[in-house]
């Protein structure tokens, strides 16, 4: 490090130090640097040590508040609120709302309503020749044209003349809402699918979302460390199902919210729902493992138990406790122990008195009275 950079380096390192100790810390290191230089020491390596010294003196990071998910009701309520938030955001963002409406107001296909009638006109360059017109069998006076976007430029409602016939453009087809077959460039009537469109249309968002969920359900038990035995031992399947069910709208509408950034909704739903579902369902199982099988509250007071060198007759791993005193959950750290995975140690009701919050609040004054 070049000599003139030593002091700035110390100043940068001092920014790590808590404000109340910074001045004293910088004064000591600056002073020592002067002596290191005078004695011909390695000032650069000396300054490098300042960062190691400064790091433990950093101010404490602000604690990140954990979402309230201790009780099952809190957990389900939070997931429901998250789902509602993603739905609201999806309807608030214009592009996401447009995709949603296109999905929800999907027109029904009535194959017998249309028939090919005759050639009408030439389309602009990109669309090729306008060869056929699809005309509803139940054509009424006043029906208009439905044209694909490439063959007409203007707002719906305009009067156009095709082969000398004046008619009104009532709608432009969209990529998802009302597609015409390749051979058909315009249709008369309301927006609907001609008979052979059903085979050509791309699958909708919901149609691609549901298989992704199914695939994620298959992948999660295989990809995660959770064995099938653990899952079978899990109780309260209703709670798991409720969590998973509440996460489905979060995943779907959350991926729709991403459509706001201009990416194709189908691609987004395919990607985000797939990976999102894997992580979400894995979280469902992991969260279940950290809950009391009796009351479904989150287990607390995590402590490490044992030592890895005592694996013969002992075990080592993590122990967590039900806040209501229903029992202890032992989670082994390695597979060489005499039990693997999780082990629930139920406590009989005689232990409850230790966990009763009313007793704890009453005990303090009594204990205080005994203090001489």
């Amino acid at each position: 490090m070049i000599g003139f950079l030593h002091l700035p380096a110390l100043r940068i390192a001092s920014l790590l130090v808590a404000r109340e100790r910074r001045r004293d810390w910088l004064a000591e290191w600056s002073s020592e640097l002067w002596y290191v230089r005078r004695e011909g020491g390695h000032a650069t390596s000396f300054c490098a040590g300042a960062f190691r010294d400064a790091w433990p003196l950093r101010p404490p990071f602000p604690a990140i508040p954990r979402p309230p998910m201790e009780s099952p009701a809190q957990c389900l309520g939070l997931l429901a609120a998250l789902g509602a938030l993603t739905i609201l955001v999806a309807f608030a963002l214009p592009s996401a709302r447009r995709e949603l409406i296109a999905q929800l107001t999907h027109p029904k296909t009535e194959p017998t309503r249309y028939r090919i009638e005759r050639v009408w006109a030439k389309a602009p360059e990109k669309s090729g020749e306008l060869r056929y017109i699809v005309r509803p069998r139940t054509t009424r006076d006043g029906d208009g044209l439905i044209v694909p976007p490439g063959s007409y430029f203007g707002p719906p409602g305009s009067i156009v003349s095709l082969s000398g016939v004046r008619t009104r453009v009532i709608a432009l087809t969209t990529q998802r809402g009302c597609r015409l077959p390749d051979a058909v460039s315009a249709a008369i009537g309301d927006c609907g699918y001609p008979p052979d469109i059903g085979r050509q249309q791309k699958p909708g968002l919901l149609l691609s979302f549901v298989p992704n969920l199914f695939l994620a359900c298959m992948i999660v038990p295989v990809a995660s460390a959770l064995t099938l035995r653990d899952m079978v031992r899990m109780r309260r399947w209703g709670f798991i199902a409720a969590k998973a069910a509440l996460l489905v709208p979060v995943l779907f509408f959350g991926s729709m919210d991403l459509a706001f950034f201009g990416l194709p909704a189908l691609v987004l739903v395919n990607l985000s729902s797939m990976w999102g579902a894997i992580f979400a369902f894995r979280w469902v199982l992991l969260d279940q493992r950290r809950r009391c099988p009796v009351c479904l509250r989150r287990l607390e007071n995590e402590v490490r138990v044992g030592e890895p060198s005592h694996t013969f007759l002992e075990w080592h791993g993590t122990e967590v406790m039900c806040p209501n005193g229903h029992g202890l959950m032992h989670e082994a750290e390695s597979s060489e122990l005499w039990f693997t995975g999780q082990r629930w140690v139920a406590l009989d009701p005689s232990w409850r008195v230790l966990f009763d919050k009313r007793n704890q609040s009453l005990r303090a004054p009594n204990e205080a009275e005994n203090v001489p």
Binding site: A27, E28, W29, S30, S31, E32, W34, Y35, V36, R38, E39, G41, S45, F46, C47, A48, G49, A50, F51, R52, D53, P56, L57
Partner: protein
Amino acid sequence: MSIAANLSHSAAMILQAIDAGHIYGFSIMEATGLPSGTVYPALRRLERDEWIRSNWEREAVAVAEQRPPRKYYKITRAGRTTLEAAQKRYPLLAKLFPVESRT
């Protein structure tokens, strides 16, 4: 578990160096051969545990000698007890830094 058992060998060396009269950071580095990234954090921990205490040199003295003031470290009574326990654990420790002066 004894107090000395909680003391690492590096910390014991630094404590011994301070007791031997190397009473500021760079001097301790030179005496022990430890890098600054080890010596100064160890000094913070020893001071936190009240085994050493620090005080700044009077500025007038340093200015008179045309140098910046230094921060001096001094071993406390608790620190000396800990050092004696550490010397029993690490018998060669006392021979590393013979005591120059003890004021």
